[in-house]
Symmetry: C2
């Protein structure tokens, strides 16, 4: 990122007709976007949202409050415009792309879905690696293509999202491997487990960790062993987006685990991450902390689909507009702060 | 507010294609707006913003980091579209009204300002009451007219804002009187005082309290003695807005003190208040607590002008759109949560 542009943006903020620092974190994010986008006029008007969906073999262990059929049903809902992310993308005038990486129920018949079928969901990682190296590579490729496309079409910001019954279990196991944590510290209620459901989910994840932890020899291998197709695609999208210099607005727990994985695979790519919100999923705070991330808002959301990032986007847009459009003290002939305050 | 409509809105939230509760506080605010607006389709698209400006006699005591001329200069900046609230109002497509209640420097020559000249600022409340009963009544009237106008023109939400060098000192003194607090607990840096400046501001407020506390016999009298014209107008706008059944989005410290004053004068009007943000002004948290308020966001803003409320507005708009536009489980034929989770 561009240090000179950061300094110019910082300077401009002190010249705008407001007490210095009084726009708080909106100043911080405008300055950061100016540096990332290497421009005096940062913006977040042109935004692409890619939602990655896939099924998880570990769903067979009863780790979700919803039946596995919901992954395919929600993909259909995405194509018909009825899901939360559809409403948000329309309101934000953002382009929205749905990528199915492999579900139990076939969705080939649906229009407006990009199909990258890697299998009928991942294998159950309690018994074996979730995916093959070939599948991991293809999922990465699917992710690469979304940020590549976003950059080529002149987008100023990229939002990745996910859908997949069982994917908090997968993301939790992955975070445990990467951060060398125990599942008790990271396992939450996902889409709505009760206490008993959480206890069972912890047992399942602990069993998977005892199989994979001794054999995992890299962050990439951790992702292959306990990740999901959509988590791998998100990770790929983040890695490639950072390479391309595209600011990436990160959503909730699962997206943040993908961001953590990307940072472990290619250290430094987190410079391009903007963390949108603190979700109410138990493990999110710990994973954010591992990334030294301080998200903009906490609305106790826990939906996924990129929805928290989408909800936060308007705050970034406001930050940019204030930075670009406010008058300076000299333009407006407004007196500045007194020497002796 | 309408309890039946609240229940219908709560019911609808459980039927939308998402895990119950997963939109967090966005659900809470959509439900609340549905009840306040008495409709199945709550909205925050049509919004009026009124900015009340005035000068403060107490500025003579050196309680602000900026010279007093800035009040008039900022009014001119508002009329030319260069201030933060101008940028935000344009981005939000909200109507914006500037009301000058009395400044040291005349602004009569400026177009696009409503003039309700109550004097060249308030009297210095260290020595005497800030205003007469007549001035208080006229300031109230100016506030009444803004919410009256908003309701008559079909606005769905009202944002009040303020500008006036010295007005954190006034708001702090007022909160001390209403909450029977000492100034040390509530006095902050305003537009940018250093530690020495804050210590001096505390001394000034303490001196004013020792004069007025023994004589103050009602919340209205407290407002008259240490308030400002713009704080009184805001208080009037809130009281009348609540009477009219217009949801009121409250900004930062000074607006929250006006909201507190309104609630002390006419208990129950806080049902119509939606608290937007937690500012970084020291006393804000305590005043919010006195109102049992839990604002939506904390971006460490401390600008005033209604800017924090304006920045938060899009979150309410998103909450409403999600509530109104998402498909239900039955519409989208998506399976619901399993019996045994």
């Amino acid at each position: 990122t561009n240090q000179e542009m950061r300094q110019l943006a910082e300077q401009r903020q002190t010249q705008l007709t407001k007490p210095p620092g009084s726009l708080g974190r909106l100043e911080e994010f405008a300055i950061r976007l100016a540096a990332l986008q290497n421009t005096l006029q940062p913006g977040a008007d042109r935004v692409h949202i890619a939602i990655f969906a896939a099924d998880h073999g570990v769903a067979a262990e009863g780790v979700s409050a919803f039946p596995q059929s919901v992954t395919g049903e929600m993909i259909r809902n995405f194509t018909r415009g009825g899901a939360a992310i559809n409403v948000l993308a329309r309101a934000l005038n953002a382009s929205l792309e749905i990528i199915n990486l492999g579900t139990v129920h076939d969705t080939q018949a649906l229009a407006h879905v990009r199909h990258c079928h890697l299998g009928a969901g991942t294998a159950n990682f309690v018994h074996q690696p979730a995916m093959t190296w070939e599948q991991l590579s293809q999922a990465f490729q699917a992710g690469f293509e979304t940020t590549e496309h976003a950059q080529q079409t002149g987008q100023q910001l990229f939002i990745g999202g996910e859908m997949g019954i069982g994917n908090t279990a997968s993301a939790t196991a992955l975070a445990c491997l990467l951060l060398n944590e125990q599942p008790e510290r990271l396992t939450g209620r996902g889409t709505g487990l009760d206490e008993q459901g959480i206890a069972h989910k912890i047992t399942i994840i602990a069993r998977a960790l005892s199989l994979h932890r001794p054999q995992t020899d890299s962050p990439l291998d951790a992702l292959r062993r306990v990740g999901g197709f959509e988590i791998a695609a998100l990770t790929g999208a983040y890695i490639h987006g950072a390479q391309l210099g595209l600011p990436l607005l990160i959503d909730g727990f699962i997206s943040t685990v993908a961001a953590l994985t990307a940072e472990h695979i290619t250290p430094g790519c987190k410079d391009w991450f903007i963390f949108s919100h603190q979700s109410s999923e138990l493990g999110h705070a710990l994973v954010l902390k591992a990334l030294s991330a301080d998200p903009l808002i906490d609305l106790q959301m826990r939906l996924g689909e990129g929805s928290g990032a989408a909800v936060t986007l308007n705050l970034l847009r406001m930050a940019c507009k204030l930075h670009n459009e406010m008058a300076t003290f000299s333009e407006a002939q407004v007196s500045q702060q007194s020497e002796l305050s």
